[in-house]
Symmetry: C2
Subunit: 196 residues, 2 copies
């Protein structure tokens, strides 16, 4: 059974028959490290469900510097919901951090699946989850220090801490790799131990 099927059957009350029907035209895609799946200012016409591997979304500022918005490991959704829904230019890039396998979800899929109330309800839940994630991220950025944001990150995404290079974590936290290195050094000095 695919990761996506297992996920949907577990999270919703969709039946096997309904699942078969709405996913009959779905495809999975294998992508390699470094591959770009969405470019800023392009229309996002697909939302991805990560079956294995790791993706990220990020913007590039006027100075050409990357700023990571989100990581998407196994069983996460990623895509520019705004661009997908409104057919507007995407607000960020999406690319591949590890070789990954994705379920590719397009408009025909959502149109068909949303006819099933249990999927439609679940999709609404996913949207609310997305809102929560963005809101928490926003709160941390405006209200917490770099050190607090780092501690929050390793608590919230413990397995990512080991999987992504530190310069990406720094980018996600909104600081430079040098600053993150110093924060880690200071935490070590204060005898802080991760995973305790």
């Amino acid at each position: 059974m695919s990761v996506f099927k297992n996920y949907l059957l577990q999270k919703t009350s969709i039946t096997e028959d309904e699942y078969s029907k709405i996913t009959e035209n779905l495809i999975t895609r294998k992508v390699s490290k470094g591959e770009i799946l969405l470019r800023q200012d392009k229309i996002c016409s697909e939302v991805y469900f990560v079956q294995s591997g790791l993706l990220r979304s990020y913007t590039i500022d006027h100075a050409g510097k990357e700023h990571i918005i989100q990581f998407a490991p196994e069983e996460w959704w990623i895509g520019d919901r705004n661009s997908f829904y409104f057919n507007e230019p995407a607000l960020f890039f999406i690319d591949c951090i590890e070789d990954s396998e994705l379920m590719v979800l397009n408009h025909p899929f959502f149109d068909a699946a949303n006819l099933i109330p249990s999927f439609s309800d679940f999709n609404t839940k996913v949207l609310h989850n997305h809102i929560r994630t963005l809101q928490i991220r926003l709160n941390m950025l405006v209200a917490a220090t770099a050190e607090e944001r780092y501690l929050d990150f390793i608590e919230r995404y413990p397995n990512l801490t080991l999987r992504v290079p530190q310069w990406m974590i720094a980018s996600y936290l909104g600081i430079t790799p040098e600053s993150l290195s110093r924060i880690r050094k200071e935490l070590a000095r204060k005898n802080f131990k991760p995973h305790s």
Copy 2:
């Protein structure tokens, strides 16, 4: 006709009859400047549609400092969607900047209204709009300088610029009022003119 009725009939294909039916138990609430409508860590059980006036949402950090998340003038929605939907503690406060009149939308309203497809579709659109707003806000915070954020703000919310005190704009931008004052001075020196 209430601002809310006018808004809904204009933005959706809801009929007058349907409107009457779903809103029969709705109430409007008049609130005064300074009144707190939602407290962080409490459950958000109402979403507000602002008919007149101006609200804001904000968090308070560990040091006790406010950070404004959002302004909500006429015809805007405000509420902690996450707390409302998941029954979780709210991530921010909501209070009143100007005396305002609100349409108070609770769970019974949404339960009834979502039975009407044209409302349900519209609600999904509102959620996507919210996601877009949060995403743009996030992008600005991580990728733009304080000056860029200020210029973006006065372009995006020209009428708010005149209605809210500058220390609130500074709080929204994630800087101190002093820093905003310096930025404005510098912009004036560079001969920048708003509303040209």
